[in-house]
């Protein structure tokens, strides 16, 4: 770990300040008379908080990793007030934290045998860091110019329920949700500045490592009516939901930044001859959708007796959506005097419409013939009809220089129909002492059609390339498991699971269609052992294994079934609780995960040379995707004095999947991160109504995937006061 002198002084100052604060708290608090149990639970309280990190290194990466503001924050972490009268209960919940912009204001009022009102507002912020890829060969790292990215999610709601005795209860609920801000995207742009040879086809110097971002502006409004009523042993519920969604999201992408070819190309540059550079392209794509849906649901639940329960449900959904969009690209060419649009992927005025009609019904029987047997039978039927169409204009530049822009119209459409039937069976048996056995089976069988056309110019053609496909799906899911309480100190659980899915798209008729069969089989098991050898130790061990195999069949006989995926996951997870005395506890959670996804490339062999390409090892185009990692969280607490508790926590995370040598052939190269943080805190009771909590900690993060550019470390302090209301 490297630290500058100023970092240490800054960290030491923070630690010293926090220590002094803790000391003062302890001394001052010790003057007060104390209850035997120092930390009572408050029914109503307010908790005021301040937290301040001192980040050295990449502050934006800190914010994304910790989901905390690098500039700290203060405010009300938790406010809870409850007043329970004879018939009326009033509850208020609140939160107001700067930095993380975490806010909550909620009021709940409930009157016995009459109803309730609940209204409020809440929001929180999610941080992003605007990082793209890193190219290790020449150390090229080009983050966004403005990396202060965050998305705020908010919701305002009001809900009123009238529930009079022996009458139907009626609930009206309205909510308005927003999601606004900027977040980074993994749709990275390209750069020539990789220091790679530029005359070695097909291995080009281009790598896509330039970050992009999305600007989100999304709104959802829900208005829902719910009526519930019991008639005898039958519970009935009718709900009608009207949902309106208005989204306008815009993606900003930069390709080949700073690489516009000059009019007069110099003979050479350090990295790449200018004549062989690509031209810088900036584009933004706006995608809008405005939809309105009405969803009506009716359910009934009848308990005939202790042995038989029947449920039924129907759902009807009608959705209309209007899509909008445009995609504007500009580039700088060596022959133009001004930036001009280019004809590829450039369109304006997209106007589309979609209509979804969906009917769903299900029914189930729960039969419990004896106290040891339980049988659940259910079936679901769904029919869905989707129709969509859109038009837009494509811009094409022409001429020398290319300053003449012509637009041509495009139209397209797609229709889908799907009918799905899903039976489900579940059996549970508890007739063996201290054992619960269960099995579940469901299989969704769907048939339908998928008709669409590629986009075409209606001025010159009557249709595009039509594709008519018969679709069929078979999604089977199977589970069998057991829970065995072997003795007073050991419980074991085991579950086997299998998922066999088949998705077929087969063209039919005279039109061109697909021939695509996808078979996927995921099998695995998870076992859990909960062991309590004595009153002070509890060990929970869990092992999960999963194997996934997939086959793709293309146009026969040219493309027969081929193994497309071989994925495997091994997770070992352990949690230990140790409470050797009333005054001390320790908790440990550790996870070791080995996860790999293998597809065809790593087993493709050598691609021989051709007239235009060199021979190369195709295996290097793409290695297995390894997603291995280790996490450890350790927490312990102890009493210090009659008024003080001490808590210590360590978090550790390491992923080591980087193979930077892949950079000569591909991107990205795997995730390699190591993060450690440690916190020590004191909780102190000032009085029966006031409790304080102070923590100091240190965090350190190293990211080799970004060449260390997003490393960060530093101390952090946290203080809170909780006052009983």
């Amino acid at each position: 770990m490297k630290a500058t002198f100023s970092t240490i002084v800054r960290g030491a100052s923070l630690l010293a300040g926090a220590s002094l604060a803790l000391t003062a708290i302890t001394v001052r608090g010790s003057d007060k008379p104390l209850a035997p149990d120092a930390f009572p639970t408050f029914e109503s309280y307010i908790k005021v908080t301040g937290q301040a990190p001192s980040v050295s290194g990449d502050e934006k990466a800190f914010q994304r990793s910790k989901q905390l503001s690098s500039s700290g924050g203060i405010g009300i972490e938790d406010l809870h007030f409850i007043n329970e009268g004879k018939d009326l209960t009033t509850e208020i919940n609140g939160k107001a934290l700067t930095g993380t912009e975490d806010y909550l204001a909620e009021v709940k009022i409930a009157k016995n045998e009459f109803g309730s009102v609940d209204f409020g507002y809440k929001s929180f912020r999610t941080f992003y860091d605007g990082v793209g890829g890193f190219f290790p060969t020449n150390g090229n790292w080009q983050p966004l110019a403005n990396r202060d990215l965050h998305v705020d999610r908010s919701k305002a709601w009001i809900e009123a329920t009238v529930a009079l005795p022996n009458l139907p209860s009626v609930t009206v609920r309205y909510s308005a949700e927003k999601r606004e801000g900027k977040k980074d995207s993994t749709i990275w742009g390209d750069t020539d500045f990789t220091g790679m040879p530029n005359n070695n086809p097909p291995i080009s110097q281009v790598r896509k490592t330039i970050p992009s971002f999305l600007k989100l502006d999304e709104q959802t409004k829900n208005l829902e009516f719910i009526v519930k009523h019991n008639i005898g042993n039958t519970a009935l519920q009718l709900s009608v939901l009207n949902q309106k969604i208005d989204n306008l999201d815009t993606r900003f992408v930069n390709r080949f930044p700073g690489e516009a070819k000059p009019y007069s190309a110099p003979a050479s540059t350090v990295l790449l001859p200018a004549s062989q550079m690509n031209n810088e392209i900036d584009y933004r794509q706006g995608d809008g959708i405005s939809s309105g849906a009405t969803i009506t649901t009716f359910t009934s639940d009848t308990k005939f007796n202790d042995q038989v329960e029947i449920k039924c449900g129907v759902n009807y959904e009608l959705l209309h959506a209007d899509q909008s969009g445009d995609r504007s690209l500009v580039t700088t060419t060596p022959t133009a005097t001004v930036p001009v649009p280019i004809n590829t992927y450039n369109y304006q005025g997209l106007a589309g419409t979609s209509r979804i009609l969906s009917y769903t019904g299900n029914t189930s029987l729960t039969y419990t013939p004896t106290k040891n047997w339980s049988l659940f039978l259910a079936v679901k039927r769904q029919e869905e009809y989707v129709k969509s169409a859109a038009s837009f204009n494509v811009s094409a530049a022409s001429g020398t220089p290319a300053t003449t822009v012509a637009t041509t119209p495009r139209v397209e459409w797609a229709n889908m129909m799907n009918k799905t039937t899903t039976p489900e069976v579940e059996v549970r048996y508890t007739g063996i002492k201290d054992v619960a056995l269960y099995a579940n089976y469901s299989k969704a069988k769907a048939t339908g059609t998928d008709k669409d056309t590629s986009t075409y110019n209606p001025l010159t053609a009557n249709n595009g390339t039509n594709a008519l496909n018969a679709t069929s799906e078979s999604h089977g899911n199977y589970t069998i498991g057991a829970n065995w309480k072997a003795c007073a100190f050991a419980t074991f659980r085991a579950e086997l699971f299998k998922k066999s899915h088949q998705n077929d798209y087969v063209g039919f008729g005279a039109q061109v269609g697909d021939y695509y069969l996808l078979d996927s089989h995921f099998t695995g098991w998870k076992v859990t052992a909960i062991v309590k050898p004595n009153d002070v130790v509890t060990s929970t061990t869990r092992y999960i294994y999963q194997k996934g195999l997939m086959d793709v069949t293309g146009f026969l006989p040219t493309f027969p079934a081929y193994a497309s995926c071989d994925a495997e996951n091994n997770t070992v997870s352990e949690t230990i609780d140790w409470t050797p005395s009333k005054q001390f506890y320790a908790q440990l959670n550790a996870n070791i995960v080995f996860n790999t996804v293998n597809t065809v490339y790593p087993r493709a062999g050598i691609t021989p040379a051709s007239g235009t390409s060199i021979a190369y090892d195709t295996n290097q185009v793409l290695h297995n995707a390894n997603n291995n990692y280790v996490t450890v969280t350790a927490l312990c607490g102890t009493t210090l004095t009659t008024a003080d508790d001490l808590q210590f926590q360590v978090n550790y995370y390491k992923a080591d999947n980087l193979d930077a040598n892949l950079a000569t052939m591909t991107v990205p190269y795997g995730m390699a991160v190591k993060e450690v943080s440690a916190t020590v805190g004191i909780k102190h009771k000032f009085s029966d109504k006031l409790v304080g909590d102070a923590k100091v900690g240190y965090f350190d993060s190293k990211n080799d995937t970004t060449g260390g550019m997003t490393n960060f470390h530093g101390p952090q302090g946290y203080l809170s006061l909780t006052y009983a209301l």
């Binding site: 390209d190 969604i245 959708i289 986009t455 996490t631």
Partner: protein, 266 residues
């Protein structure tokens, strides 16, 4: 200035001795309980029948829940399913209810982590839903008291994808051209609990797509991957994949669905 920290044998010995000493000192000096989260001090099990007295709207439907199928009755108390997650209920019952006398998984995921130990690790990854930060909770996505814990599975009335699209509405569509993978659900490509990869992707490179979209070797070729088993195209993707992922700029930028490109180009 360089400063290096090492986990040496001495560090462990002295650190361990100090921690043990602190424990012994605290035990000698103080005779009160420090409560480990998420436990309730002094509480003992009372059985689910006590819970039904006030929470029948929950307990009446619990038998249909995913969690009910693993329940094993206690020989003395009978069913203790509620307390398996909410902690022993004697203090809560004695107090006539009230905040702070029961474990509330809706406020803290620690109760869920007691069994789902692996999920604690996934949520502590940098790419995860902010459950540990308290901004959302397990019950925002899972119904633990009634029906399927993973909503929309089996013969449920709703669809599995609705769990995600109630918040991520932009991915809900509808799109003129819908990606068939959406029928498999969001978890085909994302791990909602957390991943080492950005956007919680199950793979951060082209392997993500190639699991289903195999470019099969053309018969007769010696390993060159230049055919496409999915559509009529002879586009050789080898050089494309060298430059970046399938969903990189200029390629297939609309993996959830597109309103302007059958091939999800934009």
């Amino acid at each position: 200035m360089n400063m290096r920290l090492h986990w040496t044998k001495q560090t462990l010995i002295f650190g361990g001795a100090a921690a043990w000493g602190l424990l012994l000192i605290s035990c000698v000096m103080v005779n009160r309980t420090v409560v480990a989260p998420p436990k309730i001090a002094g509480a003992t099990f009372v059985g689910t029948k006590e819970c039904t007295q006030c929470h029948s709207e929950v307990t009446d439907h619990f038998a249909s829940s995913t969690h009910a199928k693993i329940a094993v009755a206690d020989s003395k108390l009978g069913d203790t399913s509620c307390e398996a997650c909410h902690g022993p209920g004697s203090v809560h019952v004695a107090a006539g209810g009230g905040k702070g006398t029961m474990v509330n998984p809706g406020k803290s995921p620690q109760a869920c982590f007691a069994c789902h130990t692996d999920k604690q690790g996934q949520f502590s990854l940098p790419n995860s839903h902010p459950v540990l930060a308290g901004k959302i909770s397990c019950v925002d996505c899972h119904d633990v008291h009634e029906g399927k814990a993973i909503k929309g599975t089996g013969a449920s009335l709703e669809a599995e994808i609705e769990t995600c699209t109630k918040c991520h509405t932009a991915q809900k569509g509808p799109f003129v051209y819908e990606h068939g993978a959406m029928k498999e659900g969001c978890t085909a490509c994302h791990n909602p609990h957390g991943s080492v990869n950005a956007k919680m992707l199950v793979a951060r490179d082209a392997n993500l797509c190639l699991r289903c979209h195999l470019e099969a070797p053309t018969p007769g070729s010696t390993g060159e991957i230049n055919g496409n088993a999915i559509r009529h195209t002879s586009e050789n993707h080898n050089s494309r994949l060298m430059q970046g992922t399938c969903w990189s700029a200029g390629c297939h930028e609309a993996p959830h669905g597109s309103n302007s490109s059958y091939h999800f180009r934009y």
